[in-house]
């Protein structure tokens, strides 16, 4: 146990030194351990007589030239003291040499130990949001001048490397920031990094920075070392950074809500953490893993889990594993991987009872029996706290929402009927051999399902996995895909939604629908179902309904291809929910407007290739290939690159095992490609790939394409899938993918942000008002302003700068701070006018360009142009005629009329109305402006000096009018 450093003298005869290093000594009190000398006996007696009873082990800190020693740790057992010793040895010792003086070393060590003690005390507190936490929270807000609603999640003691020196201090992790603060040797170090700016987080261990966490931002790298709980800290940092990234992707407001459900949770095995938020985040992480593992809806929150056994009737065995409980599900996963897995929706649960065993075998201790509405029973045994579990389940059952049985719309209203699986309507020709194979497979599956059950709550066994790898028979695909992917649950939870969405989607007209229309005939044209209006209409309904359901995705090409395959095997509504599950759960963020998910996964595949096939990776990297080849693999699940009848086999596994299958098959596609290594350029390599992929064949199903095969046969699909499982099945796990996704998401989002910024800058530069550096700075101020308003740049619309939009308050702050027009008595009025002028669609928001133009014009452009802008801002329709009159004196009115005619002259070719148009382009389009002003000047030249004087005069008059008006 670490103790507050205390000065002592070493030369006390009561201690033996066990280990000594330059700066630390590990000591054992005489009379403890092996030594049985007289002096140790004496000391032992002394200790037992006296009441002090010091701990028998301790660690001292010393410096070679100092007489003073500090006790920094004491322990009752040798094991305990060894732990501390080890920690010192690994974390502190290697860094001490970087200090110049011994005093500094001592100060550092004492400071370090003190902070450790503070942290440990923290862990003893059971209550969340303790006094200590509140103090730290207050400190955090003070030190980093954080806004009040910025929430501190957790804080850790660690050291930050500033240059070659470690600074001992505290790392604060909040929802939007990571901060570091230290005050040592009279020097203050404060660091504040926004999660959204982090491009890389990594655990590193280099000579320079031993066992550290590296944080990379655009501006540089930061190293933190000497964590007590490095893994926990790192995991939390990664999670927070990813939440920040997700917000950037999803374009939702950056508010972070404390989950009320989690706080009221009753479970006993929720770890207590120093803050609500930390606990919430932990729970969220657990829940993510849980939903990922059992393919449950995202919203599902894990309540708790418990070790127990599951009785499997098909082999009459009790299998050890873990039972998981959440609002809507009971799940079980065996301890032996892939042995058995089970999902029971609570809505199906009919009865939960304590099982009374007829035979008093020990296995039946603490068993419960769950019976579902389909009269299937599941027996769990060896539950340590059976009553609690039963109580808990009944509680959850009571909380289940009542099913809404009302039908949303009556059938008569709809002008459409949902289609059954299209393969039942449009039969493709099958040879007798193929028919036999299919029948045989069907038989295998029927047998299998008679043992393990059918539907959501079937036991997922090793045997089942093997059957999936061999390919699901066509007739069962629809059913099994829905069960394995979990989409059947979504469908059950959202009765009637599909119908409602279709009715609404078909009656509306929007961009997504247009895009869908264009692609309907380009989805699976080789299948007869899509050469017919029946199939096309079904596809239209599914895609349009989904675009309506999820506007952040809308419609993305490739969804049409995937959806058409789903429609072949599934009834229409089921196909819709399968599509939804793919877009939202299995391939998160894949189809959104920036295809972020697919880019992230390309990065993941790249990394996996690097790890497993380094030689090939180097080659592909040289060719710049990875980005090109894999996009369609991910987005279309290989359907657009492999023959259809082969790609569906990959889909079988994909629905069963999740996205890992794509990586597995993807990596396997790269294996054994000696040809690739010989390629000289990217085109050649592309050809090698497409020949290989097109050459994959399936002898167990009919080829869909009626055209004769041109590609040379390369590998049997079953063989490919099997091999991919064998080579990469275990090394490419779902958890591993999820982990790598976290890492690559940071990079991808940063790149997208950068390119958005770059494009915006480029677009703004075309106005030629401010130079690149000024714009860059302006944009960073805008981002800052938007950030504090908890708004992130939204999706790119017509132009990149539209992504950054400011409301009046934000515009005002920036305009008044930066523009010369933002000073003086009329600042407010003129700001309002400029805002109105720039807000050309009158939606209360002005784009980055609006601001940059306002600033550019007011700071940089020549007098006549500035006047013109002022004039435009004060002319109808921005200002109504009444408003104008009210403020004008008689002479003013006259002058205004003159001014109008003056500007009309300048703007000769266009009509007076056009001159007053409140569009930005009017104000800032260089060509037009230059032309009009040029023509005005050239006019004045030809008319002679008198007119030049007149023009100047007019300018002055207009200025007067404008100022009188204020």
């Amino acid at each position: 146990m670490w103790v507050k450093p205390q000065e002592v003298y070493l030369k006390t005869p009561l201690w033996d030194s066990d280990e000594t290093t330059l700066y630390f000594v590990l000591q054992r009190r005489k009379g403890h351990g092996k030594s049985k000398s007289l002096s140790s006996l004496l000391v032992g007696t002394l200790d037992s007589v006296r009441d002090t009873k010091p701990a028998p082990y301790r660690i001292l800190h010393q410096t070679p030239n100092s007489e003073i020693y500090y006790v920094i740790s004491t322990a009752l057992t040798e094991q305990e003291i060894r732990q501390d010793w080890q920690w010192l040895f690994e974390n502190v010792s290697p860094t001490l040499h970087s200090f110049d003086t011994e005093e500094e070393i001592t100060e550092f060590v004492c400071c370090k130990i003190n902070s450790i003690i503070a942290t440990e005390q923290e862990n003893f507190t059971e209550d969340e949001d303790t006094i200590t936490y509140k103090n730290v929270d207050y400190e955090f807000h003070q030190r980093f001048s954080m806004p009040k609603d910025e929430k501190l999640v957790c804080y850790y003691s660690c050291s930050y490397w500033k240059g070659k020196m470690p600074r001992q201090g505290w790392m604060y992790l909040s929802v939007h920031y990571m901060c570091f603060y230290s005050y040592i040797f009279g020097r203050k170090t404060a660091l504040k990094i926004r999660w959204a700016d982090v491009t890389e987080l990594a655990k590193t261990n280099s000579l320079l920075f031993p066992d550290s966490i590296k944080v990379v931002t655009r501006d540089g790298e930061h190293y933190f070392t000497m964590f007590l709980k490095k893994n926990e800290t790192f995991a939390l940092m990664q999670q927070l950074a990813n939440i920040a990234m997700k917000q950037l992707i999803d374009d939702k407001s950056g508010t972070f809500n404390i989950d009320k459900d989690l706080l009221t949770k009753l479970s006993k095995n929720v770890p207590k953490k120093p803050s609500f938020l930390k606990r919430d985040l932990d729970a969220r992480k657990q829940s993510n893993l849980y939903t990922l593992r059992f393919r449950l809806p995202h919203t599902e929150k894990l309540d708790g889990s418990e070790e127990c056994t599951l009785w499997t009737p098909y082999n009459k065995r009790h299998n050890w594993g873990r039972l998981y409980l959440s609002q809507n599900f009971i799940c079980f996963d065996s301890r032996v991987r892939h042995l058995v897995r089970l999902t029971i929706p609570l809505r199906d649960v009919h009865q939960v009872e304590r099982a009374v065993s007829s035979t008093s075998s020990s296995q039946d201790v603490g068993s419960i029996l769950i019976t579902t509405a389909h009269h299937t029973s599941f027996l769990f045994g060896n539950i340590s706290d059976r009553d609690f579990l039963v109580h808990k389940i009944s509680e959850l059952l009571a909380k289940l929402p009542k099913e809404k049985s009302s039908r949303v719309t009556s059938r008569e209203e709809s002008k459409w009927t949902p289609q059954p699986p299209l393969m039942t309507l449009f039969k493709t020709h099958q040879t007798s051999t193929i028919k036999q194979i299919q029948t045989k497979k069907e038989k295998q599956w029927e047998d299998h399902m008679s043992e393990v059950g059918r539907g959501v709550s079937m036991y997922r066994t090793t045997e089942g996995s093997e059957l999936v790898v061999n390919g699901i028979p066509e007739s069962l695909r629809g059913e099994l895909w829905s069960v394995f992917s979990g989409s059947i649950l979504q469908k059950a939870q959202n009765k009637g939604l599909y119908e409602k969405l279709v009715n609404e989607a078909l009656s509306s007209k929007n961009q997504a629908n247009d895009e869908i229309e264009r692609d309907l005939h380009r989805s699976l044209p080789e299948h007869p179902a899509f050469q017919n209006n029946v199939g096309i209409s079904a596809l239209r309904r599914v895609l349009c309904a989904y675009a309506l359901k999820n506007p952040t995705i809308g419609y993305c090409q490739a969804m049409n291809i995937v959806a058409s395959v789903l429609l072949i095997y599934c009834p229409e509504e089921q196909a819709f929910w399968l599509l939804a599950t793919i877009c939202e759960t299995l391939l998160p963020d894949y189809y959104n407007t920036r295809v972020v998910g697919a880019l992230v996964d390309q990065g993941v595949l790249d990394e996996l290739t690097k790890a497993h096939l380094p030689e090939l990776h180097a080659k592909l990297d040289e060719l710049g290939m990875m980005k090109m080849i894999s996009l369609s693999w991910f987005l279309t699940l290989f359907i657009s690159v492999m023959p259809y009848e082969c790609a569906v086999n990959v889909m079988d596994c994909f629905f069963y095992d999740g996205a890992k299958v794509i990586f597995q098959v993807g990596t396997h596609n790269l294996i054994n490609r000696e040809k690739l290594l010989k390629c000289a350029e990217d085109g050649q390599a592309m050809q090698v790939f497409s020949e290989y992929l097109e050459g994959i064949y399936n002898e167990e199903a009919m080829a869909l394409s009626t055209e004769p095969r041109t590609a040379e046969k390369t590998i049997k699909i079953q063989e490919l899938v099997y091999q991919s499982y064998r080579s990469f099945g275990s090394s490419v796990s779902s958890e591993c993918i999820e982990h790598l996704r976290l890492k690559h998401r940071l990079r991808v989002v940063r790149q997208l942000e950068d390119s958005l910024e770059k494009n915006t800058l480029r677009a703004l530069q075309q106005d030629r008002l401010l130079d690149a550096n000024e714009l860059q700075e302006l944009l960073s101020v805008i981002r800052e302003e938007l950030f504090w308003a908890k708004r992130v740049p939204c999706e790119r619309l017509e132009a990149p700068y539209e992504a950054y939009r400011l409301d009046y308050g934000q515009f005002k702050t920036l305009f008044q701070a930066l523009s010369p027009w933002g000073k003086g008595d009329y600042a407010e009025a003129i700001t309002t006018r400029m805002f109105k002028l720039m807000d050309h669609d009158a939606d209360g928001l002005v784009s980055a360009r609006g601001l940059s133009v306002s600033l550019g014009v007011s700071c940089r452009s020549d007098a006549s142009r500035r006047l013109r802008v002022l004039y435009c801002a004060h002319a109808p329709p921005l200002l109504s005629d009444d408003e104008l009159r009210q403020t004008f004196t008689e002479t003013g009115e006259e002058l205004a009329a003159d001014a109008i005619s003056f500007f009309d002259n300048i703007d000769n070719p266009s009509t007076p109305d056009a001159a007053l148009q409140r569009s930005i382009s009017e104000v800032c389009e260089d060509n037009q402006m230059d032309k009009s002003t040029d023509s005005a000047y050239s006019q004045s030249e030809t008319l002679g000096d008198a007119d030049v004087v007149l023009t100047d005069l007019l300018n002055l008059i207009v200025v007067r009018i404008l100022f009188e008006q204020f």
């Binding site: 895009e515 264009r518 692609d519 005939h521 380009r522 989805s523 699976l524 044209p525 080789e526 993305c556 090409q557 490739a558 049409n560 291809i561 959104n592 407007t593 920036r594 295809v595 880019l599 710049g624 980005k627 090109m628 080849i629 996009l631 369609s632 987005l635 279309t636 657009s640 350029e681 085109g683 592309m686 050809q687 997208l752 390119s755 480029r762």
Partner: protein, 208 residues
Amino acid sequence: MSSRKKVLLKVIILGDSGVGKTSLMNQFVNKKFSNQYKATIGADFLTKEVIVDDRIVTMQIWDTAGQERFQSLGVAFYRGADCCVLVFDVTAPNTFKSLESWRDEFLIQASPRDPDNFPFVILGNKVDLENRAVSAKRAQQWCQSKNDIPYFETSAKEAVNVELAFQTIARNALAQETEAELYNEFPDQIKLNANDNGRNRDGDNCAC
């Protein structure tokens, strides 16, 4: 000179979704039209050998995805292109309007050495259809305004002008390639200047 060595020309086809990029490429390479293409995801490519001025050249034609959300992903393909083909659909005015931004985007991302003289070719596709909405004149005018980009009206379905258009593409790409070779293999200033002078004189002629 190195004119006898095998030449590989990289041609990029860009344009909005559904204008017929894949069909044009297939009509040119495989001499057939099919209405059974899937929407292009990512990119696809085909090669074809053609003879240009007695030289055998291999054209490597890259077909790209047209949907806007894929636009930023295409940049990997743009590098090293010898010619860029911009396609629009004569029945859809929007696809014509996008040409400008496709061109800009290409120039920015590919950043060719001499952006003003980089060979582009514009194809107005689907002229076989009745409901034409972009007139040949309007398209011509735009092409002229952009440094006289060659313009062809094509129909991938009926193989109208496809061969001719791709011949021009090959020739212009080759010119670009040859220039690049000159640039690479003859760092000699005099050679380069001679070449430049030639072009300048042409330019003068035009202006007069």
